[in-house]
């Protein structure tokens, strides 16, 4: 069976700056995969290329459909939820409205059931439905973004630097949630992360990017043992 998501020789650029120089990667059904790399290696752009928020070329296939010419509106409808850099929460809207937006492409009845499910996952949201999302703490906003993504009923979740700017305990909490979603509900996940330790802990496989190319790939176990990965990204 072909993998759920397959990228082959994908290139992308911002104006004159090339960000991806031929990325190939796969995410299998129910798999959890991490993308590691330094700042500017092309991690974020890889996710943006998948969701269609950057112009790209090359082959991108998801569940047998080509994504190459689709914009983000259409990609999200296929079942890919992208939690972007900076989380993409709507600060002026309430918690409930943010979650409602996640279900934007779903029918009304589906919203009710999914909403209850997300509130069960993050019980604090129930008390703060009417609060402006912009007034939440960083960790709460990240959870809200995750909740919103789940409202999309995704087959694949794209997470961009969920640890950014958060305290270690909250980072741990968020990654635990992701791990549970992956293990128990079979949600496929592609995580871009600078914090390689937590990322390798959560994901089964990983790719390491340098200047827009994949330089190393393997199971998390292999990468942890890899000498240069350890020195550059794990710091021991």
């Amino acid at each position: 069976m072909p993998p759920l998501l397959q990228l082959e020789d994908v290139h992308a650029r911002y104006g004159p700056t090339t960000a991806l120089r031929g990325i190939s990667l796969t995410v299998g059904e129910g798999e959890s995969v991490a993308v590691l790399g330094a700042n500017g290696a092309g991690k974020t752009t890889t996710l943006r290329a998948i969701s269609g928020t950057v112009k790209r070329s090359g082959r991108i296939e998801f569940a047998g459909q080509s994504l190459g010419r689709r914009g983000p509106e259409s990609v999200s409808r296929l079942g890919i939820a992208h939690v972007p850099e900076g989380r993409g929460t709507f600060g002026e809207l309430t918690v409930r409205e943010n979650l409602r937006l996640g279900a934007y492409t779903q029918r009304g009845a589906a919203f009710k059931a999914d909403y209850v499910r997300v509130l069960n996952l993050f019980p604090w949201m129930a008390d703060r439905e009417g609060q402006q999302a912009g007034t939440l703490s960083g960790g709460e906003q990240q959870m809200l973004a995750l909740g919103r993504a789940l409202m999309q009923r995704p087959r694949l979740l794209l997470l961009d630097e969920p640890s950014l700017g958060l305290a270690p305990s909250i980072v741990g909490e968020i990654f635990r949630r992701v791990k549970v979603l992956n293990a128990e509900e079979g949600l496929s996940v592609l995580i871009v992360e600078q914090n390689a330790v937590v990322a390798l802990d959560t994901a089964a496989r990983a790719y390491v990017l340098e200047v827009g190319r994949v330089v190393v790939t393997g199971s998390s176990e292999e990468l942890r043992r890899n000498e240069s990965v350890r020195r550059s990204y794990l710091g021991y």
Binding site: S51, S76, G88, F90, G91, L93, Y104, T105, G134, T135
Partner: protein, 300 residues
């Protein structure tokens, strides 16, 4: 008669007729705000779009349509017109600097004004009112039914729009698209269409204010010039970002100007506009984003 009765009655009448014109300013100001929030530009053609729609309404009425039939048909036509304008001339300059988009709307202003002259000529025409010009007397105060009707229609329109934006999924999509287009796309909101719909709704409000003001000032191609300026003033007063601010700004401006021009001889009708804009400048200097302007709460 109680002491100060006639003075008080006159004052109340001025307030009510101020609320009526204020409602008209507020509707058009709300149209400007809707577009500002969606596209980050001022649509200088907003008034002319309303004027053009009002001519269409008059044409329908003169060809035998009942008033309210023509009224709602015009709103529908205005909606389609607004959507088409966005698709055809605004969309292509989406990524251009704001000033370029402003120039396009100025082009629309000039073009629609010219087209109205071309099609219907420059003479002023009477436009029928849905409401009687008689007055009803409440405790010695004579209120014009027309004023009350205009207030009612404006408030109904604003109320409906509020319910739509606040409580429907499409309304939520429209708000989201204006606040954060990129994140909206990621959850499947078709942002391009949301912008077009925003122009459609704004155009409806413009048509509404045109049809409400036409019985008061007569219809001609330049009818909306002054109304647009007052609406701009109202929108700035309330804060370009704030729909509620636009409506409140319109009402405050309508009442305030009516009272000032009635009671302050030096200003009269001649200096109404400069006074309106002097107030605006003063407000901007004290509070650069208007009275209800957004002070965003954001944590990183």
């Amino acid at each position: 008669m109680e002491p100060g009765g006639p003075l008080m009655a006159n004052f109340l009448q001025q307030v009510v007729s101020g609320l009526a014109t204020g409602g008209i300013y507020g509707s058009l100001a709300l149209a400007l705000v809707l577009i500002y929030r969606a596209t980050r530009v001022i649509n200088f053609a907003q008034g002319e779009m309303g004027m053009f729609a009002t001519f269409i309404a008059l044409w329908l009425i003169e060809s035998g349509w009942p008033y309210w039939g023509a009224f709602f048909a015009t709103l529908a036509i205005a909606f389609v017109g607004g959507v088409v304008v966005e698709r055809v001339v605004i969309r292509p300059v989406e990524r251009a600097p704001a000033v370029t988009v402003v120039i396009i709307t100025i082009g629309l202003l000039i073009g629609l004004n010219g087209a109205a002259f071309w099609i219907w000529g420059g003479e002023t025409r009477a436009f029928p009112s849905a409401f009687s010009t008689r007055a009803i007397h409440v405790g010695g105060v004579a209120f014009s039914i027309q004023d009350l009707g205009v207030i009612g229609v404006s408030l109904a329109a604003v109320g409906l729009l509020y319910v739509f934006f606040r409580f429907t999924k499409l309304g939520l999509g429209l708000r989201a698209a204006a606040l954060n287009p990129e994140a909206s796309r990621l959850v499947g909101v078709r942002v391009g269409w949301m912008l077009a719909l925003g122009w459609g709704f704004a155009s409806v409000l413009g048509a509404l204010s045109g049809m409400m003001v036409a019985p008061l000032v007569f219809l001609d191609p330049n009818m909306m010039r002054a109304v647009l300026l007052y609406a701009l003033a109202a929108a700035i007063l309330g804060g370009l970002d704030s729909p509620i601010g636009a409506v409140v700004g319109g009402l405050v401006l309508g009442v305030g100007l009516n009272l000032i021009s009635t009671y302050v001889d030096f200003i009269g009708d001649q200096l109404k506009l400069p006074v309106a804009f002097a107030v605006i400048l003063a407000v901007l200097l004290v509070k650069p984003t208007g009275l209800f302007g957004r002070t965003t709460v954001r944590r990183v």
